[in-house]
């Protein structure tokens, strides 16, 4: 395994970034995601209005990969529609499961595509998908309430 294909500059930077790491002032959605085997724990906070993600942030602890993945995800979904965010989560999880994506889909994932190599590291896959799974679960819960 090549370390630089995992801990790329982009990922390292995102892992250290505190831009999205704080509480929102008035989140209307918040969900906890946990990885028991790592002890990782993040709480995702979203402010969703009229089907759009007005604001998003997270708090919690985790490894570089989970932190970077979360930071990149929030970059991507902020301002997007819930539908689009769910679409992106679906793409991301498919990529990590090593399913073939089209070039367009890869482009849609933007910086998140940099996490593709994690799919070759079974022990770390859980770290990369933690935030995306939490996002999916958050929307599923809302859906369940309707």
């Amino acid at each position: 395994m090549e370390l630089d294909s995992i801990y790329t500059e982009l990922i390292s930077e995102h892992s250290r970034s505190t831009e999205h790491k704080h509480h929102l002032e008035c989140p209307n959605m918040s969900l906890k995601g946990r990885n028991p085997s790592c002890g990782d724990e993040i709480t995702l906070e979203l402010q969703v209005e009229d089907g759009y993600i007005k604001d998003a942030s997270f708090v919690g602890i985790g490894c570089a990969i989970s932190q970077a993945s979360t930071s990149i995800m929030i970059d991507l979904i902020k301002g997007e529609s819930v539908a689009k965010a769910r679409h992106l989560a679906n793409l991301f999880l498919r990529m990590i499961k090593r399913e073939e994506l089209t070039e367009d889909e890869e482009e849609e994932l933007d910086e998140a595509f940099a996490l593709k190599n994690i799919s070759n590291m079974p022990a770390r896959v859980k770290c990369a998908v933690l935030s995306w799974h939490t996002l999916e679960e958050a929307f599923k819960e809302v859906e369940g309430k309707h």
Partner: protein, 411 residues
């Protein structure tokens, strides 16, 4: 040729590369590698002696029985038990501990009683006691730690009372790597009328153990952490206690007479060994004990102590390393070094070390209550065995020194 080079050559896996690097295996606390002669003992068993022991009157079955029962006698001698029927084979230390909890615990712990364990216990010596206490309305109490991460002497003195029915404690913690004063604990517990379960998973592979001298009531360990194959574990129990206990697993070979509505159980050790046992595993365990006896615990302890001392001294030079259990004032440190790299999650540490061929553990090490107590989400652990060399430590230190850089953090 120095000793570790000589020993390493006995272990097929230790000569294999890991990716582009030679393997530096430092996860011996999780499981050890197996010398060729242990692997050969398994192969030979299946090639030449395989049969269901105890059940056949034909030659092959008699040979299988011999192999199995000789392993019991070897194990008895290895830990200096009084009788070979005090040795019960299980699949691992976890099953051994569950056997004690279900069979002894559920029948001897009652409402208002107390079970006392250390905060540093492995989940396998913790969750079963939670279960016993919940089932019986008893209270589970903890021995906490001193500043230097040794067991609190005050807790040992104050928490063993007439209410205490069972004290369960590791001889060596798999995270802190410190030898606990089990002999003293046993003495205090016996005075209070409690029995003591000693978890020897991290001691038996690394030091000479004498269960009679220690006077433990129960003592458990796993073969796979001492050069043996997986799937074989040991429970030692004092004859009188084992005789009085109800059986745990029930079925073939642990009975004398079965009628439609009633069963008479077999005497020890069969009473606790239901179903077809892992004879191949026992053959491997025998070979492992032979191998360890040949290396000798004097050498093993010395080598591990040197490696640990050297590793800790090198790590103390790195100001971004935090160490746990490495400052004991009691000269009781074994070959387990638990640490964290500042600002780096243990899983990143272990991934980066792995890329350099260095295998260490990262996570909660099946000791979450200890992690909570230490206020750590997770930690890294390097654990040595006698086949590790000073060069292994050097490679470990070298890889460790690169961790923060890979993540773009200053050294």
């Amino acid at each position: 040729m120095n000793n570790t080079v000589k020993f390493k050559a006995d272990f097929p896996l230790l000569g294999k590369p890991m990716g582009n690097n030679p393997l530096v295996y430092l996860d011996n606390g999780a499981t050890t590698q197996k010398p060729g002669e242990v692997i050969k003992a398994i192969t030979e068993y299946y090639d030449s002696f395989n049969a269901n022991p105890h059940r056949g009157a034909y030659e092959l079955s008699i040979k299988a029985t011999d192999i199995y029962e000789n392993a019991r006698i070897k194990t008895q001698q290895f830990i200096n038990a009084k009788y070979s029927h005090e040795i019960i084979f299980t699949k691992n230390a976890t099953e051994s501990l569950n056997l004690v909890a279900y069979s002894y615990g559920l029948s001897h712990v009652g409402a208002g009683d107390e079970v006392l364990i250390a905060i540093s216990e492995h989940h396998s010596n913790l969750v079963p006691w939670q279960y016993v206490c919940q089932m019986k309305g008893a209270t589970l109490k903890y021995i906490y730690l001193e500043e230097d991460h040794n067991l609190s002497q005050r807790d040992i003195e104050e928490k063993i009372t007439e209410k205490t029915k069972v004290v369960a404690v590791a001889q060596v913690s798999n995270v802190l790597g410190l030898i606990n004063p089990v002999k003293e604990i046993v003495e205090r517990a016996h005075k209070a009328g409690a029995v003591v379960v000693v978890d020897g998973s991290q001691s038996v592979p690394h030091m000479a153990v004498d269960v009679q001298d220690m006077d433990a009531d129960f003592f458990v360990f796993s073969g796979h952490k001492m050069l043996s194959p997986m799937g074989i574990g040991v429970l030692y129990g004092k004859e009188a206690l084992l005789n009085d206990m109800p059986p745990f697993l029930m079925g073939g070979d642990m009975i004398d007479y079965v009628e439609e509505q009633h069963t008479d159980y077999a005497p020890l050790p069969a009473k606790f060994e239901a179903g077809t046992q892992n004879v191949g595993g026992a053959a491997g365990l025998s070979a492992a004990i032979d191998y360890l006896n040949r290396v000798g615990f004097e050498y093993i302890e010395k080598q591990e102590k040197e490696l640990t001392k050297y590793a800790i001294s090198r790590m103390k030079e790195m100001d971004y390393i935090e160490l746990y259990g490495c400052d004991s004032s009691r000269d009781n440190k074994t070959g387990i070094v638990t640490f964290n790299v500042k600002d780096v999650h243990p899983h990143d540490v272990s991934t980066i070390m792995d890329a350099h061929g260095v295998a260490i553990r990262a996570g909660h090490h099946c000791a979450q209550p200890l992690m909570i107590y230490l206020k750590q989400n997770a930690t890294c652990r390097a654990s040595f065995y006698f086949y590790n060399s000073k060069e292994d430590v050097d490679k470990f230190i070298e890889a460790l020194s690169k961790v923060r850089g890979v993540l773009g953090l200053g050294a």
